[in-house]
């Protein structure tokens, strides 16, 4: 089972990516022929998710977002996709993958294992 805070962080980061698409990129997407509206509902969902996160986790997330723009990163082939360092076996053990709130020891980003 995925650690609930990890799941919330992934959902929050995805929502923010979509908000970026619905705002900054909307003119380009509309010019291509796509419809894209409904920013308010995304922002409401974002606020709801933020309320569900533990304050310390949210604060760390926001700090990482501000610093790097990539607060949550996948681990692919055993490497953190934020700084590309190898994640130690202890952190990446089967039992720990997505079941604990893991961060990269090098860059501090929250980690997510998409292959699990």
């Amino acid at each position: 089972m995925i650690q609930p805070q990890t799941e919330l962080l992934v959902a929050l980061n995805h929502l923010e990516l979509m908000i970026h698409e619905a705002t900054d990129e909307a003119p380009k997407l509309k010019a291509m022929g796509f419809k894209i509206d409904g920013l308010e509902q995304l922002q409401k969902a974002q606020a709801d998710l933020e309320k569900q996160l533990e304050p310390a986790v949210l604060k760390q997330y926001q700090r990482l977002q501000q610093r790097s723009g990539r607060p949550v990163v996948p681990v692919i082939n055993g490497n953190c996709c934020g700084c590309y360092i190898k994640i130690p076996t202890a952190v990446a053990s089967d039992a720990a993958k997505n079941r604990t709130l893991a961060t990269c020891g090098n860059c501090g980003r929250f980690l997510y294992w998409p292959s699990e």
Binding site: I2, H14, L17, M18, F34, K35, C81, N98, P114, S115
Partner: protein, 158 residues
């Protein structure tokens, strides 16, 4: 600036094409397309939520029987294109209200300094304009023939 076109024929692999989608609903099609990816089940579920969320902002059915579902996701670290065809057509709330038969699903990583995501979206949207009702993309059964036809359309688009 780095806005070199992306070669669709190089991006699209045989295993990422399903020319006989069985699904008859929007969500079913998205699920079947995601199954073509190498992602784990949980990651596919998360992506399905993202793609549905994107569709709620406005259908990605851009008309003429073509839809280009898309989103950015933490689930992968490279641009991914999955293609599918539902011969009977699926209700997708497309811009022209017609059923969609051809699907090009794009997933991009969040970090995309060369903006390949938008470039690819634009290229496929342009390519879709050339597709007519009798296009081979609606009839061929071999993924390689499908890719070859994409290649022809790519050349014509230049």
């Amino acid at each position: 600036m780095g806005s070199a076109p992306i070669k669709l024929t190089a991006l699209l692999k045989h295993g990422q094409i399903n020319l006989s989608l069985k699904a008859t609903t929007r969500d079913g099609v998205l699920r079947e397309l995601l199954a073509l990816s190498a992602l784990g089940e949980k990651a596919q579920q998360i992506l399905l939520v993202n793609l549905k969320q994107r569709e709620e902002l406005g259908s990605t059915g851009i008309g003429k029987g073509v839809a280009i579902p898309h989103c950015r996701s933490l689930m992968l670290n490279s641009l991914t294109l999955l293609a599918g065809r539902a011969k009977a057509g699926v209700e997708f709330d497309a811009i022209d209200k017609k059923p969609v038969r051809l699907f090009f699903l794009i997933i991009a990583p969040p970090h995309d300094p060369q903006n390949q995501y938008l470039i690819l979206l634009g290229q496929i949207a342009q390519l879709a304009k050339q597709i007519t009702a009798g296009d081979a993309l609606f009839t061929v059964d071999d993924p390689q023939q499908f890719i070859d036809r994409i290649g022809e359309l790519e050349k014509n688009a230049k």
